[in-house]
């Protein structure tokens, strides 16, 4: 049973990471992040009102305690965070590179324009 939850978690990590890495539009990424955040908020609120709920849900998956379920969830969220942050870092690096390159090239004299005249 434990192997099942591990497989599900790993699959979800891979699928979510892939979906977020695909590039896609920023609006879609934002929507996914908001959905995840909303889901997280609801679960957090419910677990405050029903402290045993998490343990019960964990039981369905064959996990001993609710805190373990939270731990697994945190691992998934962390990996998603790493994947999205890496994507944004790459996108920013590419933008900065293009900007710096544009400035560098524009500031440089072009000898062929002089020779041509």
């Amino acid at each position: 049973m434990k192997i099942l939850i591990q497989v599900i978690l790993i699959l979800s990590v891979i699928i979510i990471s892939l979906a977020l890495m695909r590039g896609g539009s920023n609006a879609r990424h934002l929507a996914i992040r908001r959905l995840l955040l909303g889901f997280f908020a609801i679960v957090a609120a419910l677990s405050i009102f029903f402290p045993n709920l998490l343990t019960k849900v964990a039981g369905w998956f064959g996990i001993g305690r609710g805190t373990d379920l939270v731990l697994y969830g945190v691992v998934v969220m962390l990996l998603v965070f790493i994947a999205t942050t890496y994507q944004r870092y790459r996108a920013m690096e590419i933008s900065v590179t293009k900007l710096a390159r544009r400035i560098a090239i524009d500031e440089t004299p072009k000898p062929w324009e002089v020779e041509g005249r």
């Binding site: 690096e93 590419i94 900065v96 590179t97 710096a100 390159r101 400035i103 560098a104 090239i105 500031e107 440089t108 004299p109 072009k110 000898p111 062929w112």
Partner: protein, 223 residues
Amino acid sequence: MKRTWIVIPMYNEGTVVGDVVRSLQPTFGHVVCVDDGSSDDSAAIAAAAGAVVVSHPINLGQGAALQTGIEYALQDPELGCIVTFDADGQHRVVDARDMANRVLADEADIVLGSRFLDDRTQLSRMKRLVLKTAAFQSKLSTGLDLTDAHNGLRAFNPYVARNIKLTQNRMAHASELVNRLADLKPRYLEHPVEIIYTDYSKAKGQSLLNAVNILVELFMGQR
């Protein structure tokens, strides 16, 4: 007469770049040095030696500097060939000239320098092993049979120059370039070149530790 541009990425190479540019001048009239945010006076020295200097306002990495040099040269309407050349003096001007001539004669779209086609270049066993492994891996992943993918001396025509589009700013650009070539399928040739390992290039160049980075980038899918 089509023009050949030499593209030299440089980062704090003030002690050697002047000699490199001067040694190129008699053969190649058009040398562009891309100063990648050096903190020394590389840019002034290269300019004094007669090169055109394109200065990155910030340090971006060698791959980014190469791409900048390529885009600068592409603006020249009479561009016939671009040769990438290292700033540390490890390449020979005659090799660059022969490779440029092969591109200008339209023997191939891109001519890649290789230190493994003859036995002129003296290499340590370890370095040879690392470079051979990198070449073997790149052959497996791209299908291109290149003997020396990490050689900085390359000559190519405007068609290849327009389509390379390097985005890996740091060391992975050599693997990225090979991957681009695999997609682009240009006519390519390898040309035997000699790498001169001076004390300077040994101290400054890719140490064996850097080979670890290259191998990791290769096997991790160069990302």
